[in-house]
């Protein structure tokens, strides 16, 4: 049971959150101008590192805010 620091509500059990995967992948500004490869990459390809990973969470059962944190996927330690 991860303990996740919601920047607003403080530490809460992971069951209150939704996982949002990799952080910092913006929706393309002009999707129509992308090649199929680029669009496919946006849709389906995300980083998947073993180690520190900047990821998104939403405190869905609490304040419903989305936020980013860095977690180590090998140890589950929340780094920042």
């Amino acid at each position: 049971m991860l303990l996740i620091p919601c920047p607003w509500c403080g530490d809460r059990d992971e069951t209150e959150f939704h996982y949002g995967g990799q952080a910092g992948v913006p929706y393309p500004e002009r999707p129509a101008e992308l090649t199929d490869e680029q669009w496919g990459e946006y849709l389906f390809v995300r980083d998947n590192p073993k180690g520190e990973f900047a990821e998104r969470w939403s405190h869905s059962a609490g304040c419903r805010r989305w936020f980013n944190l860095v977690r180590n996927t090998a140890t589950h330690e929340i780094v920042r």
């Binding site: 995967g21 496919g40 389906f44 390809v45 998947n48 590192p49 990973f53 996927t73």
Partner: protein, 401 residues
């Protein structure tokens, strides 16, 4: 046929180079090596395993084998696997304890019933054995399932694949390993791939903790670590790694005759040959390589299990564990070439890898031997994420819709 042969494998030192190097000594890697040697006569092959053979997901799965997938492409490859399973003990001369005891997929909502019926009909036309059972027939087939209409999510019916069942995962791995070893494949344990040797855009070998090993072709078969390895070659895969937990009970006298799965309440359970109940839980939502999940997943699974099987209430969890499943956006695998020449990938099996083992090895061996996909794995290429021709087994399982 003995349960454990006297000789399994040599423990060779790696040679300077091989025609084919397979990275990952799990079930798929070992099966691939075996079929490379047996089907294609390619014996100058090494399987590099960073830990011990079949110590990853192969050692951690719940050993369910079935081929009742919805989409034609999936049904074809999984049914090919099931046919291979049916002859595998004899072919490998090793009792893999394959038990075709039947798998029930329970339906708890009207939508489940529609999906189940759709799947049964598609399976039959695809040559996959499948039946629809009403609740009474479910009770007859598996008397311990609670088919009372008074539970929160009553059993409204089930699909049954009679030829589906379970096999002993370790035996499967060792059987493939022994035959591959006999045919000349070098199984090298404690050998971690740390990088790739490339010539332009072509892979020509791998760097390992035991030194460089040259290779004509390199095939990744490292479920749970595919992304990490691929990234060493500069390839990004459409794969995310998640924990998948499972557990066993103590040894119990026989009580559960088949395999029961329920998507709706997230349980799958069988009773192994020795008597322990083997159960799988849901996938933890976050990315992880830790081979550990969260306990609430197990708690929820137990609550669900007791709704379906009240008789399990007094059984005990003896051990839980976690594997790392590589999940693709469409919950279907990737088997085929990568953007890097001579580098191939077999990954993304999610929770379905064990049951596919022989067919995965069969088709991947074909691909590594010929450089081209076998018709069975052609649809499972990386290109589908560009074209959009996904094989969406999420949708087929009525999950999240």
């Amino acid at each position: 046929m003995s349960e454990h042969p006297d000789r399994l494998w040599r423990n060779p030192e790696p040679r300077a180079g091989y025609d084919v190097v397979i990275v990952g000594g799990g079930g798929h890697g070992l099966a691939t090596a075996y079929y490379l040697a047996a089907n294609h006569g390619i014996r100058n092959v090494a399987v590099l395993e960073k830990g011990w053979l079949a110590g990853g997901n192969m050692a951690r799965n719940t050993t369910i084998i079935r081929s009742n997938y919805l989409w034609d492409e999936s049904a074809a490859i999984y049914e090919h696997a099931l046919k291979l399973w049916e002859g595998l003990s004899a072919e490998l001369d090793y009792d893999i304890l394959f038990s075709q005891r039947g798998v029930l997929n329970l339906a708890h909502t009207l939508q489940d019933v529609r999906e189940g019926s759709r799947r049964v009909n598609a399976n039959r036309l695809n040559g996959v054995d499948a039946e629809w059972l009403d609740p009474d027939e479910v009770r007859k087939f598996c008397p311990i399932v609670n088919t009372s209409p008074d539970v929160r999510y009553p059993v409204l019916g089930a699909t049954l694949q009679p030829r589906a069942g379970i096999a002993k995962h370790d035996h499967v791995a060792w059987a493939f390993a022994r035959r591959a070893d006999e045919l000349g494949v070098d199984l090298i344990q404690g050998c971690e791939v740390t990088g790739f040797r490339k010539h332009g855009n072509k892979v020509i070998g791998v760097e390992t903790n035991l030194g460089p090993i040259m290779a004509g072709r390199v095939g990744l078969a490292a479920a749970g670590h595919s992304s990490v390895l691929a990234s060493l070659a500069g390839v990004r895969l459409p794969v995310q790694s998640h924990p998948l937990q499972a557990l066993v009970s103590e040894l119990l006298e026989p009580v559960h005759p088949c395999v029961v799965m329920s998507n709706h309440v997230h349980v799958y359970v069988s009773q192994a040959h020795k008597g322990e109940l083997v159960m799988g839980a849901g996938i933890d939502p976050y990315n992880s390589y830790a081979q550990r999940g969260s306990v609430h997943v197990i708690e929820q699974q137990m609550a669900a299990a007791l709704e379906l099987f009240p008789i399990f209430a007094r059984a005990h969890v003896l051990r839980t564990w976690g594997g790392i499943v590589d999940v693709t956006p469409d919950a279907s695998p990737v088997i085929g070439p990568t953007p890097v020449d001579n580098l191939f990938v077999n990954c993304g099996w999610g929770t379905g890898g064990f049951k596919a083992t022989p067919a995965s090895g069969w088709t991947y061996a074909h691909t590594l031997a010929t450089g081209k996909a076998h018709p069975l794995n052609e649809p499972f290429a990386l290109e589908r994420f560009t074209s959009g021709a996904l094989i969406d087994e999420h949708g087929a399982a009525a999950v999240a819709h």
